[in-house]
Amino acid sequence: MNLKGFIAARSIRAGLLASAATMLVGFAGWAVSPAQAADPIKIGITTELATIPGKAIANGAELAADQINAAGGIDGRQIQLVIEDDHLSSTDAVSSFQRMVKEDHVVAVVGTFVSEVGLALEPWSARLHEPYLITGAAANQLSQFVHKDYARNKYIFHAYLPAAFLAQAVCDASHDILVNQFHMKTAVILSEDAAWTQPLDAGYQGCLPKAGLTVEKEIRFSPDTTDFTPIYQQLASLNPNVIIAGWAHVGVQPTVQWNTQHVPIALAGINAQAGSSQFWQATNGGTEGVITGNVAAPGVAITPKTLPFSDAYQKKFGYSPAYSAYTTYDAMYMLKDAIERAKSTNALPLVAALEKTDMVGTQGRLEFLGQSSQFTHALRYGPGYVTGVAIQWQSGQQKTIWPLNLANAKAEFPSFVKLPKMAAN
């Protein structure tokens, strides 16, 4: 094997002695390290470390791994995480996915909250027969991909809710809060023009009227929009009761501008960044009164596992978990459970075991949909399973307002929001 000498010769010629040394070590590492007898169970995490939800994925996985290892591991074997930053690039993600599979021989890969990255990785999961659990991205296409060619793509699990279910959750919450409590009647859908919001908007269009809100208009804007004034001015003239959002790429700017311009319309829907505990500071408090769907909320015991998790997370990292931390933490436990039931880390038995998952996680009861659903291998949505929560920012804190049985606060809106006159009861 000639590689070491060859690379070394070139680098030193290149005169970059410092980097040559690094290279040499690096390549030597690559070239010699053989597939080690996998005593620990390796799990790959692909994520975007410079973002809040991306970092939360890594944190959630780390916390789960620590707890599982401390409790004796999986059938006595320790979990070892391989965390790779894909820098929000699908190219980097594909290359690190391959590295984790081929070099580290990870049992499964978990991660990404970016649909684009998830979609790029899915074909590789199928091609390399590598179980892959997506824990933050929401596009419908992610699980539809499995449905389209189950035999090939069965290795992929969408361990989060597809956009269509997220829309349903928003409608359900809107019905209970906005319509029943505040007598709202009209809504405008305001989504960033992105592929994940297409099924979301379609879902909104379908379920909002059933929930009691007439959709007056659907506005889609470019995700690189920075100035939302024209949109809010236009909305003000339509004068609906509520804005139902579909935001993930944007968040801070429309929220801040909604607040600074005193847009007299309530803001609800999915405002993904508002799910983060840092959102209050990022918006300088502009998020006061904003409602968003989220998987869980601080201090709310959706299941007996929710609070212990968020407390441990807060203790370990010093801040509260973003939604993707819950999903990733749960995904790790689903993997542990499946490996133990399958008594194997091989792909096919593991997939079969994952399909039979039925456990209680931090978000609710976890079960994957079957082949017959168009969202094959997505989490089951509905009361008793995963529904998510609706939270509202109140005085710098995220309060849960829905589901009603879990609520720790009543919804209230900033003074500049014009509410419909309460009908005399």
Binding site: E48, A50, T51, I52, K55, L88, D193, I219, R220, F221, S222, D224, T225, T226, D227, F228, T229, P230, I231, Q233, Q234, V250, G251, V252, Q253, V256, Q257, T260, Q261, H262, Q273, S276, Q278, Q281, A282, T283, N284, G286
Partner: protein, 291 residues
């Protein structure tokens, strides 16, 4: 009503564009440098202002001061670490220096972006506005911060005008942009003048970054787009022409606002890009450029 809304909103956004691009055009006019790390300067200032003002809780004004300081420091670093070494390099042939300054500042912009995303993550933040609340102006509700932003921008523009036209130092800057050799012959050290321009650039970028950050938010991911938009405005107005830059900023600002109001918010950027291509075809020296 709609007309007034478009006028007000377009004015605010255009003024911000103008301020953001001003330093870029100034540094090109005086020292011939196209700084492709421009967006980095704006975002560094905004991030520091946010960190000091909001995270450390020292308030909007102290935050803004820290942000401007950060702008100056970053501008100096750009000049002293990147631009000047390339300009003075013996190994880089003279006629390729421009390309190397472009490549060097481009890499510097990447470095700033990576450092910021490492320290502050990519998540967008907003700088604490100097003045909260809203104003009802002839029936159009507008955030007070928008007026403050426009007012500060115009005060800064006015100060710059006074500096250039009414002070000894300004005369030197003007002379350097017209004829650097002539200035050398009169016994002025160009190196000192360039240093000075970079400091002024830092102040301008700092203020622009903070105002942008309080109005539209900021994130390390915005750096390339901010550089791009400053570049477009400056080329559209005519490279190195301050009045051209102001004019182009208003053209782009209003075209975007009109599109957003009258056509569709999601097509907001398209007409401006098309206009840019058309202008470059028909009048490559820009709207108000000489040459």
């Amino acid at each position: 009503m709609l007309v007034l809304q478009i006028l007000i909103d377009g004015f605010a956004i255009s003024t911000l564009y103008a301020l953001g691009a001003l330093g870029f055009t100034l540094i090109f006019g005086v020292s011939g440098v196209l700084n492709l790390a421009h967006g980095g300067l704006l975002v560094v200032s905004a991030m520091i202002a946010y960190y000091v003002g909001t995270r450390l809780g020292l308030g909007a004004y102290i935050g803004a001061g820290a942000g401007i300081l950060a702008g100056i420091v970053t501008a100096m670093a750009t000049y002293l670490l990147i631009v000047r070494p390339i300009q003075r390099s013996r190994v880089i042939p003279a006629r390729e220096r421009e390309l190397f300054v472009l490549t060097g500042t481009l890499l510097w912009g990447v470095m700033l972006q990576e450092m910021l995303s490492y320290i502050f993550t990519d998540t967008p933040i907003t700088v604490k506005p100097l003045l909260p609340g809203i104003v009802d102006f002839l029936g159009v509700t507008t955030p007070a911060n928008e007026f403050i932003t426009a007012a500060i921008s115009w005060v800064v523009l006015g100060c710059l005008w006074l500096l250039v036209n009414r002070t000894k130092m300004g005369k030197q800057l003007l002379a350097a942009s017209i004829n650097p050799r002539g200035l050398t012959l009169l016994g002025f050290e160009l190196s000192r003048i360039y240093l000075l321009v970079w400091i002024i650039y830092g102040v301008l970028a700092g203020i622009a970054g903070i105002l942008l950050g309080s109005f539209l938010g900021t994130s390390s991911e915005f750096i390339p787009a901010l550089t791009g938009s400053a570049f477009s405005i400056v080329v559209l107005g005519g490279l190195g022409s301050v009045s051209g830059t102001l004019f182009a900023a208003y053209v782009i600002g209003y075209i975007e606002t009109l599109t957003a109001y009258l056509v569709s918010p999601s097509l907001r950027n398209v007409p401006a890009l098309v206009l840019l291509i058309l202008v470059l075809y028909i009048r490559p020296q820009g709207l108000l450029g000489r040459r």
